[in-house]
Every structure is written in structure tokens, then in C-alpha cells.
């Protein structure tokens, strides 16, 4: 059977649940029966189906005694409770939690035009962005339409067994932060467990490293064949989507698409977007200072902008020496495709910047990713990677 399109199975499940709300139990039963037969590995749908059937049964077990006729009954097996073992109990609770989150997520979609504040300043060259709200088990997909983000999809996701806030390898938590998609790995190259494929994320990023967070291999990936979706907290730290949803993402999103991952997203109302963006522009002044300092080879200014504990990717050269090789003779440095992502956590406040520097002196543009940390009232560059070189 052809798999249902992305989001379709959930949509049908939610429709069935809505029918229950409208007291259309038979309609709901029919809808969810069809769904479970088309998507037989959708366990949460089976739970709804079971509940509906049981509800009908419950109305009828007290059938009255007949006034005539004779019934032959075959002694049922002693009724054993099937729901008591702890694992089954956990599974049941997990599925109920999944259902609750799916229903709530659909009921509480942010107002159109709302965006997470972290994604305030995206250049038009960034075609999509993703934001994951773990508390809602939801991944929101945005399409960048001329500099303003519009939500074009939202999908159920599972996160780590022990929740959010990864700090070390093996802690079964999902990291929080601003990440970027690295590679696409087709499912055929992966064990069955990962489903239709994986999108890698750059955890740990430079901020994680600075904060001493460890671990690796945090992916967005699909589900094994026997499960349409996994329970809300089920992975070892990866973000898991249903295979149709993952396939959809693999087909439609670009490499280096930003992925914001948070326990709970803070949404910026549409009417506040412009104002906040304006406020954020003060940071652009910092970037312009940085550009000017390089154009003028102002060593003092550069020393002031680069943090003393600057992370040296290759270890040997100082950042200034490293970029000097590029910027030598370039007095006309211009910045373009500038995107600024904000992030704050207990360890500090930062800006992640993607930009391209161009100059007549360059054969081609220089792509850089920078991590700026707020130090007092100043911003200091603590990490800088040359991308795609």
C-alpha cells in the first residue's frame, strides 16, 4: 500500500478524535478502523480504535436477560488483566501522552506570522528553517518568503528518553540550541532502525564545546518498520519523525538549514516582529565594526573583537593570522547573505552568524560561521569557521 503523505495519518487520526468530541462515535470508529488498516504500525491510532471499541462494548455488556430462548455460552478464559505489567503500563502512558501532544499541538498552533525569536534575522538565501518544541513534541517548518518566515508544516517528533538539555555522551538527552543540517543519509545506507533516512545536525556546535558538552551523532531520522511514530520521549537523543514526514523533509529542505531546538519555543507575535528585528539590528553594528577592522587591518580593534579564549579549529594559528591569509590586500570587504541567530542559555548569550565576505581581491566569496558571545556589554567572537572551503 502506498504510504500516506506527510502529516496525513495524523490529520486523519485527529479528525477521528474530533468526531468523538462531536459524539459521532460510529464515524470515529469507522475512520480510525480505516486508518489502522492503512497504517497498521500507527500504535496511537490502534489505541484510539481500542478505546472506541471498548466504549461500545461497555455499553453493551449489561445486556438484559432474555425472556426466552436459550444461550449456549462457552466459558471464557479467566479474565486476566493485560495492562498491568510496568512495561505495558509505560507504553500505554506513552501512547496517551503522544495522543495528548498531537491533539494539543494541533489545537495550539501559533498565530500565523508568529516566529521563534531566535530566527529573527534570516537572510533571504536561507530558504527554510526548522524549530522544535520538545514540550509539544513538534517540529515546525518555515519557508522564507522574501525575508519573512511562514510556517508551512508541522510534524510530530520524539526526543530523548530523558528529555532535553544534552550535556554528555550517552545521557539520552536531546541537545538544545541552534544547529544546522549537515548531511542527508538515505535509509538504504542505514540500519532499519533509522527508517527512511537521516539528516545530521552539527551537535556539538562551538558553543556546546565551549560549555563542555559532549556526545555526537544527533540526527533527525525516521522510524523502524514496526512503528509509525515513536513515543514522545523514546530516543537516545535524536529527533525522530515518522517516515513520511522525514521523507518529506529530506526531499524539501536544503543542507545548512537551521534547526532551533528548545524545550519550549518562545513565539514572537506577528505584530512584534518588526520592532524586535529593529532592536536586534544593533548587533549588525558589531558585525560592521568587524568588517571595518579587517578592511583597515586595525589590529587593535581586531584584538578587541576576538575573545582571548578564541577556539582555534586547527590549533596552531591565531584567528587573526588565519583570516589575514584571506583578507590580505582586501580593503573593500563587503558582507552579504547575513543571517543572525540568537541563543541564550545558563552559560551565556550568543549570536550565531552566517555570512559571506566578498571583495574584488577574492576569487570567490568567503563563507564564514561565527559564534559571538556577550561579555559584559561587548560582543566577542569566540569561534569562526570557514564554511565549504
Amino acid at each position: 500500500m502506498k504510504p500516506l503523505a506527510a502529516g496525513k495519518a495524523e490529520e486523519r487520526l485527529l479528525q477521528a478524535i474530533e468526531m468523538v468530541g462531536q459524539q459521532n462515535l460510529d464515524g470515529a470508529l469507522k475512520a480510525v478502523a480505516a486508518l489502522t488498516s492503512e497504517v497498521p504500525n500507527f500504535r496511537a491510532a490502534h489505541l484510539v480504535y481500542a478505546d472506541l471499541l471498548r466504549f461500545k462494548t461497555g455499553r453493551m455488556v449489561s445486556a438484559p436477560a432474555p425472556v426466552g430462548g436459550m444461550l449456549v455460552k462457552h466459558a471464557p478464559q479467566p479474565a486476566t488483566s493485560v495492562l498491568l505489567s510496568p512495561e505495558v503500563q509505560d507504553q500505554l502512558q506513552g501512547l496517551q501522552d503522544e495522543l495528548r501532544r498531537r491533539v494539543q499541538a494541533a489545537a495550539s498552533l501559533p498565530v500565523e506570522g508568529s516566529i521563534p525569536a531566535e530566527l529573527l534575522m534570516l537572510d533571504a538565501s536561507v530558504r527554510q528553517a526548522m524549530a522544535i518544541d520538545a514540550s509539544k513534541s513538534r517540529l515546525y517548518l518555515f519557508t522564507n518568503e522574501g525575508g519573512s518566515l511562514r510556517m508551512t508544516g508541522n510534524f510530530y517528533v520524539s526526543v530523548g528518553k530523558l528529555g532535553m538539555g544534552k550535556t554528555e555522551a550517552g545521557d539520552q538527552r536531546t541537545p538544545q540550541g541552534v544547529y544546522f543540517i549537515g548531511r542527508q543519509i538515505p535509509g538504504a545506507k542505514l540500519p532499519e532502525f533509522y527508517g527512511k533516512g537521516a539528516l545530521t545536525m552539527n551537535y556539538p556546535n562551538d558553543w556546546d564545546r565551549l560549555a563542555g558538552r559532549s556526545g555526537s551523532g544527533i540526527w533527525l531520522h525516521g522510524t523502524p518498520p514496526d512503528q509509525y511514530a515513536r513515543l514522545p520521549e523514546a530516543s537516545d537523543g535524536c529527533v525522530v519523525l515518522s517516515n513520511p514526514d522525514l521523507t518529506f523533509l529530506m526531499r524539501s529542505i536544503d543542507l545548512q538549514t537551521p534547526v532551533l531546538v528548545r524545550e519550549q519555543l518562545q513565539w514572537l507575535a506577528p505584530q512584534d516582529v518588526a520592532g524586535r528585528r529593529k532592536a536586534e539590528q544593533s548587533f549588525l553594528k558589531v558585525l560592521d565594526d568587524w568588517r571595518m577592522a579587517w578592511s583597515r587591518k586595525d589590529q587593535r580593534k581586531l584584538a578587541d573583537l576576538y575573545a582571548a579564549d578564541f577556539m582555534k579549529p586547527e590549533g596552531s594559528t591565531s584567528p587573526v593570522e588565519r583570516l589575514n591569509a584571506y583578507f590580505i590586500g582586501a580593503a573593500d570587504i563587503a558582507l552579504k547573505d547575513l543571517s543572525v541567530y540568537s541563543w541564550a542559555d545558563a552559560k551565556g548569550e550568543l549570536r550565531v552568524v552566517n555570512l559571506k565576505a566578498s571583495s574584488k581581491a577574492f576569487a570567490k566569496d568567503l563563507s564564514l560561521r561565527q559564534y559571538w558571545r556577550k561579555s559584559g556589554t561587548h560582543w566577542k567572537l569566540f569561534s569562526e569557521d570557514v564554511m565549504g572551503s
Partner: protein, 432 residues
């Protein structure tokens, strides 16, 4: 709640919806044969009134019905129609009155109960509606059996679905549906009346529900039987038995339906022997809970809390309670005597007026009972859900009986009729 629309020949298949709520459809008639031969002339009048009603001319229909009933005050079909008209005209109290009268006079007709239930439900009296619907089901033992079987099927399908949701292994698919077969249908009580022909709309609705795409191989086996057992318009007993055998042939192990050979089980039952196969006409209302169900499935899981109705007791009621207690203890003593194979005490529980269901003489019956009871190596008789109603010196006891003797293990619903004789309650009839 069943969407049940009943049908006069000229309105065949036309569902009649009275209320906007999904539970509401009123049966608007029930076939010409129900009341021991309605005259053709009256049928014409009824058709005419029904047609008016169908055309939305309820007031005119009401006038015609009224003038007709002046001439033929006892015409049950027209009275029924009058009730439907009243409901249509939103004269619910009037309609309720008419249907109550019909249920009293014709307690074996399910349709007036159904309509009464719809009206009660429309008034928000859902508890009363459910009670009346249960009475409707009770009008025919086949309905009750089919009803219960449908419940069992849902239970089995629910069990399979839980297994899928919770990834239970096969051993733990332990909710075993019990499937009751209609092995014998006693003729309906009123003479010469054919059982009502099942309404096609109802049957279609029911079998659709039951045969909703089965999620699993297990459920598929269940639903194949569902089609055969409760939903059929006119299923013979042999067809039902065949269906049961089909289930047996399919994957019985996982589904958990045990279908033993009915014949092997029945003859050892204490009272009734199976009658030769008769045409069974089953009419199965589609159950549709009217209770509100909250949107999250988690809410569905929780059982609806039971509402209690407080009844004030009068002295009269207290006396009745005492009689009920007496009857209960008489029934329990009867079961205890049976279980302990104390045949004298067991047979003493029966009245001299007791009529054996197999038609044999009392003496002959007692002899057979004695042989059967004494001959067993051990008997266990357990009663559940004992319910007693007392009316003067007569009483009716209904219960579920589990009977185990050797390998035989049967459960059945049983009704004992008792009467008070010299202060003691004795059994005058025993029926399943």
C-alpha cells in the same frame, strides 16, 4: 442509540429522522403482520396517513389518524403512527403517553420502546432512555443474544487493537471474547404473529459498523462471524452454526473465540433441549452511546461514572424487599441443593404446578433430573447477577448460571418463575 426507521410497505427503506441529534430516529411502523392480521382497509388508511406524514403534512396526518381511531380505537398500527405524528409535531409528552400505552399493551414489540427511548433522550432523560432500550432488546431473546455477541465482538476487536497499540505478545492477548450462539429460539409469545422483519436500514448500519475494516488478521476472523451472526436479516440457526465453524477454522488461537460443538454442550443442560433449527430473524439495533465523550482518547479510557438514583422507600416497598429477599434465598437454596447433589431437596424446590419445558410429565421429568444429578461425579452451580422481581405471590428470578460438571462448563442466562405456596417459594417454570 439505534437509528431505527421502520417501514410500512409503501415507505420501504425510507429513514425517518425526527431530531437533529444523531441518536434520534423514530420507528414509524412495523409491518402489517404484527397484530394478527390487520384488515386490508385499515392498511390503506395507515398508508395514507404515513404518506401524509412523509410529505410533512403532520397536522393533516394527525387529523386523519384521529378520525380513523374513533372508528377503530384498538388499531395498534394507527396508534403507533399517531405517536410518531405527535413526536413530529413536537408534542413529546403526548407521544410519550402513546408509546407508554403501547409498551404496556404490547410488551413484546420492540418498536414502541425504541421510540419512547428516542423521546426520552430528546428530553435529556438519557438514563430512562437506556432503560427503555434495554427493554426493547428484551422483547426478543435473539436480540439480546445478538446484542451480547456484538458486545463480545467489540471486546475481541478492542483486545486486538490494544495488542497492536501496546505491542502485547500473543500470549497476552488474553481478553478472550465469549461468543454466544443462538441455538434455540422460542417462538414469539403472541399467537400467529411473525417476528418483525428486520429493517434493512438498521441491519445495514449494524453490519457496516461491525464489519468496519478489520485492523488485523485476528479481527478479520471476528468480523467474518459478525457478518454472519448478529446482522443478518434472516439467518437460520444452521447458518449461525456454520459461521461459528468458520471461525473455528480460522485463526482461533489468537482471536480466542472458542466454539465448541453446540450439540455436545446442550443436551446436558438441565432444562431445555435444542429445538430443531428454525428461521431466526434477528433485528439488531445499532448501539450508539448518547453519553458525551471527551475529545482525548485518554478520556475515552475512563469508564463513565455510574449515576445512582436514590429511591425513597415506603413501607410497601420494604415489604416487597422482604419478599425479594425470600425469593433470593429460595433460589440460592435451589442452586445449593443442585450443587450438593441433594436431589430431594433440589426437586422440592419445584412446585407441583411446575411445567417441564420439554413437555414431559412432571414425574417423568423428576426421574430424568434425578438420574442426571446423581450420576455426576461432581457439580458446581454458581449464580451471578441474581435479580428478582416480585408481584404479589408471583416472582421472577433472573440470573446468569455457571454450570460445571466434569469437562462440561456452560454459562447461560436463566429465568425462574416462582410462586408462594403456603409461605414458601416454589419454582413453576424454568427457562433459559
Amino acid at each position: 442509540m439505534p437509528i431505527a426507521s421502520r417501514v410500512l410497505p409503501c415507505l420501504s427503506g425510507h429513514a425517518y429522522s425526527l431530531f437533529a441529534r444523531p441518536l434520534a430516529a423514530v420507528i414509524i411502523g412495523w409491518g402489517a403482520t404484527v397484530h394478527g392480521g390487520a384488515a386490508l382497509a385499515s392498511q390503506e388508511s395507515i398508508n395514507a396517513v404515513a404518506k401524509l406524514l412523509e410529505q410533512g403534512k403532520a397536522t393533516q396526518a394527525a387529523r386523519q389518524a384521529e378520525s380513523y381511531l374513533k372508528q377503530n380505537p384498538s388499531d395498534v398500527q394507527m396508534r403507533f403512527l399517531q405517536g410518531v405524528i405527535a413526536a413530529q409535531l413536537k408534542q413529546n409528552q403526548q407521544a410519550i403517553k402513546i408509546f407508554i400505552a403501547l409498551t404496556k399493551e404490547y410488551p413484546n414489540l420492540p418498536e414502541p420502546y425504541n421510540n419512547l427511548a428516542v423521546l426520552y433522550a430528546a428530553e435529556g432523560q438519557e438514563r430512562k432512555a437506556s432503560e427503555v432500550l434495554e427493554q426493547a432488546i428484551r422483547t426478543n431473546p435473539s436480540y439480546a443474544t445478538a446484542h451480547e455477541n456484538l458486545g463480545d465482538l467489540y471486546a475481541g476487536m478492542a483486545s486486538a487493537a490494544y495488542s497492536k497499540a501496546l505491542q502485547l505478545d500473543d500470549k497476552r492477548k488474553a481478553i478472550q471474547p465469549k461468543l454466544a450462539l443462538i441455538t434455540q429460539i422460542l417462538p414469539k409469545h403472541e399467537e400467529g404473529s411473525k417476528p418483525a422483519v428486520a429493517d434493512s436500514a438498521v441491519v445495514a448500519a449494524t453490519s457496516k459498523t461491525v464489519a468496519a475494516p478489520a485492523a488485523s488478521a485476528n479481527a478479520a476472523a471476528v468480523s467474518s462471524s459478525a457478518k454472519a451472526v448478529p446482522g443478518l436479516k434472516s439467518a437460520t440457526v444452521s447458518a449461525a452454526v456454520t459461521a461459528a465453524k468458520e471461525i473455528k477454522a480460522s485463526d482461533v488461537k489468537t482471536v480466542g473465540i472458542k466454539t465448541a460443538d453446540a450439540k455436545a454442550t446442550v443436551p446436558q443442560e438441565p432444562v431445555a433441549a435444542p429445538a430443531p433449527a428454525k428461521t431466526v430473524e434477528v433485528r439488531m439495533p445499532e448501539p450508539k452511546p448518547a453519553a458525551a465523550v471527551k475529545s482525548a482518547a485518554a478520556a475515552v479510557v475512563a469508564d463513565a461514572p455510574e449515576r445512582n438514583t436514590m429511591k425513597e422507600k415506603t413501607a410497601e416497598v420494604a415489604a416487597k424487599d422482604a419478599a425479594v429477599a425470600e425469593v433470593k434465598s429460595a433460589v440460592k437454596a435451589w442452586a445449593a441443593a443442585w450443587q450438593s447433589q441433594d436431589v430431594d431437596r433440589y426437586l422440592n424446590a419445584y412446585s407441583g404446578d411446575f411445567k417441564p419445558a420439554d413437555g414431559s410429565s412432571l414425574a417423568k421429568w423428576k426421574e430424568t433430573r434425578r438420574e442426571r444429578i446423581v450420576g455426576k461425579s461432581g457439580i458446581s452451580v454458581t449464580l451471578h447477577d441474581l435479580q428478582v422481581s416480585v408481584d404479589g405471590d408471583k416472582a421472577t428470578a433472573r440470573f446468569r448460571q455457571s454450570y460445571v460438571a466434569g469437562a462440561l462448563n456452560t454459562r447461560m442466562k436463566k429465568t425462574l418463575k416462582l410462586q408462594r405456596e403456603k409461605g414458601l417459594w416454589h419454582i413453576t417454570s424454568e427457562g433459559a
